[in-house]
Symmetry: C4
Subunit: 215 residues, 4 copies
């Protein structure tokens, strides 16, 4: 991993700062049980436009900067390293959202269960939560935000095609769910992406608590 | 932030001690997930009567004394700092309750969900819990305490007007809920305010567990 | 508190070791949220027969040996210290159970909610749990253990009278619940008492999860 | 314990590395509350084929390498040490699965409750979860995996006989439940076994959340 560490050390200040912030968020989310069994993956856009994605199989609670894989200027990864299989979903978000510089994907219990319970619906709608204001651009609780859900697929091309309609609209929801799988969330910087993910996981926990038929 | 730190270092012993206690409570509550996505805000009354409120957007798990904003003797904040948007609600409590020196506002899951489930009711009533004795002045479990709920509003003047009737009574409940939003709790010192908030969050968790129709 | 620390430092090895073990358990249980809002209290029997009980109002997550109050040889506490109001319930257990040297009282969410849901029943019965073997003397899961519940009361004499029938029998259950209040658990040493409490809290969590009507 | 520590220090690199990894996993799982009241037990296969099993009664949150008991070359344990009573279940798995080098047994709340709720069924079936891919050899969410459940028994010979049919098949599920008791999970190395256990506990938590009749 020394070679990879060197690559990161030579990056510009903005890129290094995004990587450092991403590592801190990954460890925090890992401690919360949001990336069980080495699941989940993370990426940032570097200042020169390249995308750094976590390698496959890393324990995210112990993530190191060197667990982020950097393509060279021609987009080629070093021999022998294996990026997350879901890298195409990260790249799609960066392509569709030029202002986005961080993409986070986790498997929290709330995300997994909610994505299965709401199946057959287009998405999960949130209304009247103050915490909706944690989403960039949302200024009031008195708004309805829809979190899309797409069907799971092991074929990344088909999965990306299912996500495409949601990414190409100007929806204020900076995230989508994959059924029985997890969530993708993004933001202009790592902190914003983490705030979005934290807010949506909180709202999904409320959603699950409120489904209790005693209510 | 250096300037702000200086201001705090020059305060009297009582005020510095309240700020230190508040920072410790904010970090503890942040670790419990009660201030997700940089939500929540906190304040203390200084010994000279001024109110110090947390700045907007701080991650409460990492709160520092310098994240508390101090108006000068004329009530004016330094240029460029932005106090929490909910500052007027803090000020209202200090105005109505002269003995109160600490106000805490958090968004725990129990608080958020309970405030939505009980909507349409005036408040949530607790009875027969030993932990009610954690509220100042309550000496027995055999009492009924009502936790008020007010509707949420982005207009702080209207929100304060809705809270006013509850603050002007001598209710033994040192807290109120805002629907889908969070809780305000207070006390004579930071420790007492924290004890109140901790007890009410516990009681709301019991309330949610007990709503299970299997009971 | 210096005076009190001195007293403990002069105790025999067995007594000092019980106090050290008790402090570690109290901090651990406090971290789990079992003593919210400074609730809960703890005691050990010293080797000379005296009972040391935690002072009133201590934050159990930060308990220190000096937070345990020691009567002198005539059973008199030093001036100005206030033992837990529930001290008589601790003393009753030590009187009825000569082999017991540690008594633990906490307010975990599972304990509080279960004690309220099972109201009107004599107690909560556990059957077919391997973890029942954590209770001293229990050798199989294929046994029925009843955890008694008594009504809450602010009068300690009446509360003790309600607990008396359960303490004077040879029941294998080393604990009882007080409705809407908490649990008392005991053991020959601090570790055993803590193992009993941990096992019963676990079983009560299972009890609550299983009450879900979908089961 | 010094004698035992010495024995471990003299082991080959692979065996020492498995023991170190096992101790880290045991502490982590203990912190999560998966081995309440000193329950649970763990083992690894050493490079020379001997099996090291945790001693009875150890607090797994504080596990040390010396808490693992090593038989000598003739399979005899040192005088006075007591291995876990469930050692025969560990040995059975190593006998049936020559590639397995780590076996983990815990009592998490999800495992205990799910094993009781599904009683009368052959096992619990999981389908359409991305996290199924955390199980070795599973490449897609679109598969049905059955987690077997066997009845509890204090007679280890009868318990092993009940587990035998599941161990002798080529099922992709690297774990089985014992009703009201806990889970056994295994893997080629400690990390893999831990990943399997973490994934299955996560899936059982989802299973419990989804049983809510409001769904």
């Amino acid at each position: 991993m020394n070679a990879s560490t060197h690559v990161i050390d030579k990056l510009d200040l903005i890129s290094r700062s995004r990587i450092r912030a991403l590592v801190a968020v990954a460890r925090d989310f890992g401690q919360r049980g949001w990336t069980p069994a080495t699941s989940g993956n993370y990426s940032v856009r570097l200042d020169d436009g390249r995308i750094a994605v976590t390698r496959s199989g890393a324990d995210k609670r112990l993530l190191e900067p060197s667990d982020l894989l950097l393509p060279d200027k021609d987009g080629i990864l070093a021999d022998g390293v294996r990026p997350s299989a879901e890298t195409p979903l990260h790249l799609q978000i960066y392509r569709q959202k030029p202002a986005v510089n961080a993409v986070l994907h986790v498997h929290s219990p709330a995300v997994t269960v909610a994505s299965r319970l709401a199946v057959g619906q287009q998405g999960i709608r949130f209304h009247n939560y103050e915490l909706l204001k944690a989403l960039s651009g949302v200024e009031t609780h008195d708004i309805e935000i829809e979190l899309p859900i797409i069907a799971n697929d092991q074929d990344m091309t088909r999965l990306a095609a299912a996500a495409e309609p949601f990414l190409s609209t100007a929806s204020p929801c900076p995230a989508y769910l994959i059924e029985g799988h997890g969530i993708y969330a993004w933001g202009e910087e790592v902190d914003g992406a983490a705030r979005h993910l934290e807010a949506i996981d909180f709202l999904l926990n409320c959603y699950l608590l409120e489904r209790n038929p005693g209510s």
